[in-house]
């Protein structure tokens, strides 16, 4: 894209950038002099001014999150970098861990300096073996070079601990992550108290996504105003989008907020594969409500516009569905995922996700009943906003949107027991794609 600004992904393609020397020669760790010349509060104000919002899914203003951490408290404070990256369709943080690990370390230093933290935990998704190795090597190199460690931050210590997750989606939820980090079963905690007040080991904790932290060095180097100038008024800066699905070149692309959603997809990925027609776009990971082709073409890519269209930017995982994609099958797949990943604390989620999946499975198997569609529609509102964390919402929101926007496909599946999409038989296996 012509107007594309590269902030996070600027160094992804540079050979050897993942090593300390390479990173330094590409302008790495240059923000530190400025950082240490500022007061911690000034850093927080700077981040607030930049308008940076959390890139993990919720889009909460980062500077504000930091300012919730109590200042004068005799407990230690912690930073948890959320690298669990479990949202289906999301694969952007792995790029940072793989190709720009030192940017994350530099960002961690900025956050820790601003908030007064001496220990940062980086909770990395268990399947990311290669990324864990890469990032651990980077942390080791930073320790060896004295970038982090004892007295590294203007006399203050900074330790970075890499923690490997064990594969549960729910451990990407900030309090589930904290429980898991403490060695417990990953189950979200009721909020309040928020982690900023009571997090890891009962101490004030900042939980930020990898990408959020990795954006900090650029903000320090170029100033908050420069960052705020990019994008729209409320959605500032750029974001990494993991684009997958039926497009020519799926991958991670950095986008500036405010551009047209479909234009961005088309320009970065080359559009729909094999010249097929667009059916729908899931803009922010599997938890976000689906957008029809028309909605996707008429929506700008920023937090507010996508929210106005009835969905969310989420983790920036854009999934493109072409005309051959079966929505009924898509529903069965995502409901299976949420039923499997529900931690089981709250009845609406524990029972609701499983029930939705059972119904979706029945419809897809060609045994659906006409009343099943309304049943799904009535279960979803009972799951939303009723639980400790938002996993139930994450399951119910897309489900409700699939039914609402593609009701005719479900009806066709139930009425005639013949699928509206040519290569999918109810209950059968797609010969081209294989069983999902």
């Amino acid at each position: 894209m012509k107007t594309m600004t590269k902030i996070i992904s600027a160094r992804f393609d540079i050979e050897g950038n993942h090593k300390l020397g390479g990173y330094k020669s590409n302008g790495g760790y240059q923000s530190l002099d400025k950082l240490f010349s500022m007061q911690p509060d000034e850093v927080i104000d700077e981040v607030k001014k930049s308008g940076l919002r959390g890139r993990g899914g919720a889009g909460f203003p980062t500077g504000m999150k930091w300012s919730f951490v109590p200042k004068n408290i005799d407990k230690p404070k912690y930073l948890c970098v959320n690298a669990d990256e479990g949202e289906p369709g999301t694969f952007k943080d792995r790029m940072i861990l793989d190709f720009d690990p030192h940017a994350l370390i530099e960002g961690i230093m900025i956050c820790c300096y601003a908030v007064g933290i001496e220990t940062a935990y980086v909770y990395i998704r268990g399947e990311y073996d290669h990324q864990i190795a890469r990032f651990s090597a980077a942390v080791g190199a930073a320790y060896d070079a004295g970038v982090i460690g004892k007295g590294a931050m203007k006399g203050r210590n900074l330790d970075i601990v890499v923690h490997k997750g064990a594969g549960a989606y729910i451990c990407g939820e900030e309090t589930g992550l904290i429980e898991s980090l403490e060695g417990k079963k990953g189950q979200p905690r009721p909020k309040p108290p928020f982690p900023a007040v009571e997090g890891v080991f009962g101490c004030p904790t900042v939980v930020n996504n990898v990408e959020t932290i990795a954006a900090l060095p650029w903000i320090m180097n170029n100033g908050a105003d420069a960052y705020a100038a990019i994008g729209t008024e409320k959605s500032t800066g750029t974001m990494l989008f993991s684009i997958s699905g039926m497009v020519e070149r799926p991958g991670v692309y950095e986008g500036t907020f405010g551009v047209n959603l479909w234009d961005f997809i088309e320009e970065s990925t080359g559009g729909i594969k094999d010249g097929k027609k667009l059916k729908a776009v899931i803009p922010g990971g599997s938890s976000s409500p689906i957008l029809t082709a028309e909605e996707a073409r008429n929506t700008a890519l920023d937090y507010e516009s996508i929210a106005a269209a009835g969905s969310m930017v989420g983790s920036g995982a854009i999934m493109v569905l072409d005309e051959d994609t079966c929505i009924v099958k898509a529903l069965e797949v995502i409901t299976r995922f949420y039923a499997h990943e529900s931690c089981g604390q709250c009845p609406p989620c524990r029972e609701g996700t499983h029930w939705l999946h059972q119904i979706a499975k029945r419809i897809r198997a060609g045994k659906g009943r006409p009343e099943d569609i309304d049943l799904i529609s009535s279960i979803c509102p009972d799951m939303m906003g009723r639980t400790v964390c938002v996993l139930a919402d994450a399951a119910a929101m897309p489900t409700a949107s699939y039914i609402e926007k593609f009701r005719h496909e479900f009806e066709a599946f139930i009425d005639t027991a013949s699928p509206p999409v040519r290569h999918l038989q109810p209950g059968g296996v797609n010969p081209e794609v294989g069983r999902l």
């Binding site: 009721p190 089981g344 604390q345």
Partner: protein, 535 residues
């Protein structure tokens, strides 16, 4: 600080920072809940206590067990939104709940059942096969687990981990497949395990002891006290009036003594009440036993002590007598014995600790397994220790002398060598006992008494807390206080007392340790004796 909270349109005063669900309960508004328990604190997982919070930014749903009250807070517990939220939680919980209520111990006192009546009353909308999980699993010496009935409220897990300090249950797996279980190869052996049965809002955890014993609507509840150790936990005695037997014994809340809990030992220590009972007074001659009436028995008791009834002139003075009471006796019984010993017979009165010490812990259990040692001390009676294998020094035996008559009261169980040594030494033995023991086998006069389940009386726990035993069932015998009171009346010619409260009033007016304590009006939670023990 006191704040004003508006609940369902009515303003209430509440203490700031208190949990909303507690404030509601204090004001008689019962917010449905499964996982919250005042003894365990909030967990927030069941989502049943959702209410509608009305704020300046509109209304939203939230759980009332996690919300602390603030000034000006406004909540609606019965709004359509709140009721819908709770009804949906109820529906979700019932989706896979087995329909075995007719054979479930919990039926009738099951929270899930009650809330179904309150919220839903609809047929299930789910027509898939229900989950299959473990049924009737033997998970320890006291408990049976039914995983299908479980609503995963985590109460049992939290109780064992946070209160009892025995983390022996946990939730395994996740999502709809999650279930309560023990750790591999281990059992629930906590001394407090049966509290989990009370805590369980459904019939997932049931007590082996109570399993299929009775439907709860047939049971009569009597507030009483546990007499198994010197803690004296406040308890609820549950009996079957039609069968006149104890079916369950479980704690009731008393912040002063036991909180919400009691130990398994105390709960299960009721079986002797139904066993080996003496039903008729009898007199033993050399080789024969003669059953007799109560009055005849009291007459025999008098004769054995060499006494004559009031008004009779003849007689040559009493025999050397020693009174020995068990420390399980009530305060009234001990007081009457003290009167007999001091005022009528000039006989020494001893109170025996005769039940071997148990295990003591930081939560509730006390090593001293007598409910009323402190009461004896407050009355100024001498307490002797007969818990061992027979002490070298036996003050009771020494006091008896060569021709002494021993009056034993309340030794329903545990006639230890110390007690027996005194019995053996006595020329004649008079026993007031509810159960057949070595003592009643040796006694010359036996008068049946009552166990704690059948009598009224006061006991004083180790901290000086006075609580009331209440009769939950009837028995053939007569309460010991009445026997002793009749005995006194027969000697002095005075009128026997009709009610035990008269004895309590007498204790209050004549015993300095209970001055200022209205023993006649001891409520269900008891009262604190003000004075320190004499001596």
């Amino acid at each position: 600080m006191s704040v004003k909270v508006r609940i369902d349109g009515i303003d209430y005063e509440a203490q700031e920072g208190k949990l909303l669900i507690d404030v509601c309960a204090d004001n008689g508004i019962d917010v449905p809940h499964f996982c919250y328990h005042p003894g365990l604190g909030p967990d927030g997982n069941c989502r049943m206590c959702q209410v509608e919070f009305v704020t300046a930014r509109g209304s939203r749903l939230g759980v009332s067990c996690k919300a602390t009250v603030t000034d000006g807070m406004e909540v609606l517990t019965q709004s359509e939104q709140a009721k819908r939220a709770r009804a949906s939680v109820e529906e979700f919980l019932l989706l896979n709940h087995p329909l075995d209520c007719p054979i479930c111990d919990k039926a009738g006192e099951c929270t899930l059942q009650n809330y179904y009546m309150e919220h839903d009353l609809e047929d299930s909308r789910m027509d898939f096969t229900r989950h299959k999980k473990g049924k009737a699993m033997d998970i320890g010496p006291t408990l049976i687990l039914d995983q299908e009935r479980c609503v995963l409220c985590d109460r049992c897990v939290r109780f064992l981990r946070d209160v009892a300090g025995d983390p022996q249950l946990h939730i395994a797996s996740r999502g709809h497949a999650a279930f309560i279980t023990t750790f591999p190869g281990q059992e629930v052996t906590s001394a407090y395990s049966l509290n989990t049965v009370d805590l369980c809002p459904v019939g997932a955890l049931t007590a082996k002891d109570f399993r299929f014993a009775s439907a709860n609507w047939f049971m009569k509840n009597t507030p009483t006290v546990c007499t198994t150790c010197s803690r004296g936990c406040s308890m609820q005695l549950q009996t079957r009036p039609d069968e006149n037997r104890v079916v369950r014994f479980r704690p009731r809340h008393n912040a002063e003594v036991n909180g919400y809990w009691s130990c398994d030992g105390g709960r299960l220590d009721y079986h002797f009440v139904n066993e080996n009972r003496i039903t008729r007074p009898f007199v033993r001659t050399d080789d024969n036993i003669f059953e007799c009436s109560q009055q005849e028995a009291i007459g025999s008791m008098r004769t054995a002590l060499g006494l004559t009834p009031a008004g009779k002139v003849e007689g040559s003075g009493s025999a050397k007598a020693v009174l020995l009471a068990s420390a399980t006796c009530t305060l009234e019984e001990l007081y009457l014995l003290k009167r007999i010993g001091n005022d009528l017979l000039s006989a020494p009165v001893f109170v025996a600790r005769h039940i071997p010490d148990g295990v003591e812990d930081d939560l509730l259990r006390r090593a001293d397994r007598h409910p009323n040692v402190r009461g004896a001390e407050l009355l100024g009676l001498q307490v002797v220790d007969f818990t061992g294998d027979g002490p070298a020094a036996n003050p009771v035996r020494d006091a008896l002398g060569a021709q002494g008559v021993l009056v034993c009261v309340g030794f329903n169980r545990h006639v230890t060598p110390g007690v027996y040594a005194a019995v053996d030494h006595a020329a004649r033995v008079i026993a007031l006992s509810a159960c057949e023991t070595r003592l009643t086998e040796a006694a010359d006069v036996v008068i049946p008494g009552l166990t704690w389940a059948e009598k009224d009386g006061l006991v004083v726990n180790f901290e000086g807390h006075v609580q009331r035993l209440k009769a939950g069932m009837h028995a053939e015998g007569v309460s010991e206080w009445k026997i002793l009171d009749n005995f006194i009346a027969s000697l002095t010619g005075s009128e026997a007392h009709e009610f035990v409260t008269h004895i309590r009033q007498a204790i209050g007016s004549s015993e300095s340790a209970f001055a200022g304590v209205d023993l006649a009006k001891v409520g269900p939670h008891g009262t604190r004796a003000t004075a320190q023990p004499v001596g």
